[in-house]
Assembly symmetry: C2
Homo-oligomer: 340 residues x 2
C-alpha cells in the first residue's frame, strides 16, 4: 500500500520548497538544471501525478463534461454517446453520465448536482417528461450561471444554445418518396404519441411528401402508439383494417414489430408491404428480411455535439459566439424491406 505522493512530500524529502517542486516539474527556467534533475528523478521514481481535484479547484475547470440522456438501452443514444466519449476523450475530457430515464425530476436533480463544480458543460437530449411539461427553467438557470449546454436530437426552441439535430423532415420526405418511386400509394406512418419534436418533424415530412406527390392524406393511415404499452394488438388491428402498401416507422422497434405482424398476417415484405424504420441499429440489421432504415449517424452527432461544447468552453470564456445549429443529414440505407 503506497499512497499517492504529493508536491509537499517531494518538497519535504528533497528539502526544497513546494513552489520549487512545482516549477521544476513544469520545467520552469527559474529552477537550475541540477535541482530540476533531482526533483524530476524523484518524482518519476515515485510516480508522481498531479491531483486532478486540486487542479480543478485552482483552474476552475474540471475537464469533465456531463452527458444527460433519457435512456441508455436505446441504440441511438448509445451511438451518440460513443461519439461524445470518443471526441471528448481525444481532447482530454472525461464524461460523466446521467440517465434521466425520461423523467423531468431526475433530469433536474442530476444536472443541478453536477453543475456545482463537477462539470464544465452539458450535452443533453431532453427527457420525454421535460418536453411534455415544456419547462426548461433548469436549463435557463444553468446557462445563466455561465455553464454551456449543447442540445441534441430532442431539442427545444425555448433554449438558446448550440444544437445538433437530424434533418428529420427531409429524410422522412425522402423515405416516403422512395416508397412512391416503387409504386406505393397507400403509405402509412407509425409514430409515438409523445409530443417529441422529432416525431413531429417526421410526421411533417410524411405529410409534405404525400402532398407534394398529390396523394391525399388519410388520417386512418397514421397510427399513433402509446408509450410502454403492448402495441401488438394495435398494430395488428391497424394492418387488418387498412389497405396499406408501405409503412414508415419512427423507430426501430416499431419497424420490427410491424414486420413481424405483417408476416403473420400472411403478407410478403417487401412485395405486398414495404417498410422503412428510423434508426439503423442491430434490430434492423438482423431482421429478415433486413430492413431498409434511416441511418441517424448517432456517432457523428455525438462528435459534433462534443466539438460544439468543447469549442465553446475553450474559447477563453470570452465573447459569446452566436449559437449554431448543426443539421446532420440522415441517410437512407436501402436493404430488403423495400423494393429496389
Amino acid at each position: 500500500m503506497k499512497p499517492k505522493i504529493t508536491l509537499k512530500d517531494i518538497a519535504r524529502e528533497l528539502d526544497v520548497s513546494i513552489s520549487t517542486v512545482s516549477k521544476a516539474l513544469k520545467n520552469s527556467k527559474e529552477i537550475s538544471k541540477d535541482t530540476k534533475d533531482r526533483i524530476k528523478a524523484f518524482a518519476k521514481f515515485y510516480n508522481y501525478r498531479p491531483n486532478n481535484i486540486a487542479l480543478s479547484l485552482k483552474n476552475r475547470r474540471t475537464k469533465n463534461i456531463g452527458v444527460v440522456i433519457p435512456d441508455i438501452v436505446h441504440h441511438f443514444f448509445t451511438t451518440v454517446f460513443r461519439g461524445i466519449e470518443k471526441y471528448a476523450n481525444s481532447m482530454g475530457y472525461n464524461v460523466i453520465i446521467c440517465i434521466s430515464d425520461e423523467s423531468f425530476d431526475k433530469e433536474v436533480i442530476n444536472m443541478e448536482m453536477l453543475a456545482n463544480g463537477s462539470i464544465d458543460g452539458f450535452i443533453l437530449s431532453l427527457s420525454a417528461e421535460t418536453q411534455r411539461k415544456n419547462d426548461f427553467t433548469h436549463l435557463k438557470e444553468l446557462l445563466d450561471q455561465g455553464i454551456p449546454i449543447v442540445l441534441f436530437d430532442r431539442v427545444t426552441k425555448e433554449i438558446a444554445c448550440d444544437k445538433v439535430i437530424l434533418n428529420d423532415k427531409g429524410i422522412s420526405i425522402e423515405a416516403v418518396e422512395h416508397f412512391i418511386s416503387t409504386g406505393a400509394k397507400k403509405i402509412a406512418l407509425v409514430t409515438t404519441e409523445n409530443f417529441f419534436n422529432v416525431s413531429e418533424s417526421r410526421k411533417e415530412g410524411y405529410l409534405k411528401a404525400l402532398e407534394d406527390n398529390h396523394i391525399s392524406i388519410n388520417e386512418d393511415l397514421i397510427l399513433t402508439l402509446p408509450h410502454d404499452l403492448d402495441n401488438s394488438k394495435l398494430i395488428m388491428e391497424f394492418f387488418k383494417n387498412n389497405e396499406i402498401d408501405a409503412v414508415l416507422c419512427v423507430n426501430e422497434i416499431f419497424a420490427v414489430q410491424c414486420l413481424s405482424i405483417i408476416q403473420q398476417l400472411g403478407y410478403n415484405v417487401p412485395n405486398d408491404i414495404s417498410i422503412i424504420g428510423f434508426t439503423d441499429g442491430i434490430l434492423s440489421k438482423y431482421a429478415s428480411p433486413k430492413l431498409t432504415t434511416v441511418a441517424q449517424h448517432g456517432e457523428r452527432m455525438g462528435e459534433k455535439a462534443a466539438k460544439f461544447l468543447i469549442d465553446r468552453m475553450e474559447s477563453l470564456e470570452m465573447e459569446e459566439a452566436p449559437f449554431k445549429t448543426e443539421i446532420i443529414n440522415a441517410t437512407l440505407i436501402k436493404r430488403d424491406s423495400t423494393i429496389n
Copy 2:
C-alpha cells in the same frame, strides 16, 4: 449571467466570517438563531450550493465512481451500466464512464487518468486485449494505492478484489439439458475465439452437460467464430456440413445469425433445430420465432457491483474485509426457439 455564490461572498455581504457562514449553514449550535436565520435566508435567496470540487479536495473523496467497460453498444454492458448508475445515484454517487473499446492501452490510460483524484473507486469488465495479454499491472498498482476495484463478468483470478460474475457454466449445463430434455442429441456450440473467461466457462458447461448425459463429444459441432469478420459464410457451412438439432450460442448476435441462416436453409425452428442464445436482449425478443435465451440479469449485476464498491469505500477505509465474489444466477427464458 449570475455566477455561483460562495461562502466568501455571503460572509462579505453579511459582514460575518466565513467560518460563521459555514457553521450557520450546517446548523451548528455554535451560532445564534438570529445569525443563522439571516445567513440561511441570504443563502437561499442566492441559491447557494457548496462547490463539489472544494468539498472533494477537503474530504479527499469525490463521490464519483469510474466505470470501465469494453463496449457500450453491447446490450449486456448497457444493462449492467444501468444497474450501476441506478444504485450509485441512489447513494449520492456520480458515474464517470470510459469505454476501453477492447483495447489494453485505452483501459490503462483512462484508468490512470481517473485515478489521480477524479474517482474513489472503479467498476470494470476487462477488455479483450487485457485478457489476451494477461497483464494486470495497472490494476495491481491502483489497488496498491488504496483504490478499490470491483470486477464484473470478465474477471481474472490474478487480481484479488470483489467480483460479480455469472454462473456461466451452470446455466450452460441447464441450457444443454433443456435441449436434451426435448429430445435433442446433436447439440452444437457457437462461440468466440477470444480467450474470455466467460466463453471458456460456457464451453465447459456445454461439455459437462453432454458428458453427464452420456452424449459423446463431437468437436465438429463446436464452431469458433473469429471476431469482427463476416461470419455468415462460416455459419452457413457449419449447418450445411453437420447434422445438428440444437445449437447454443454464446451471444445474441450469433443466435439471430444462426436463426436466420437455419431458416434460409429451409429448416424449421424449433422443430428441426432449437436455438438458445446468451443475453436476453431486444434482438432475441423481436426475432421470429422469439428466441429462448439466457437472461444474464445485467442490471442486477450492476447494482451488486456498485453495492460492493460503495460498501467498501464507505467502510471507513478501515480493516480490509475479505474479498467477496457474488455469483448472479442466470435464468433460462423459454420462448419459441426451443420445444416446450
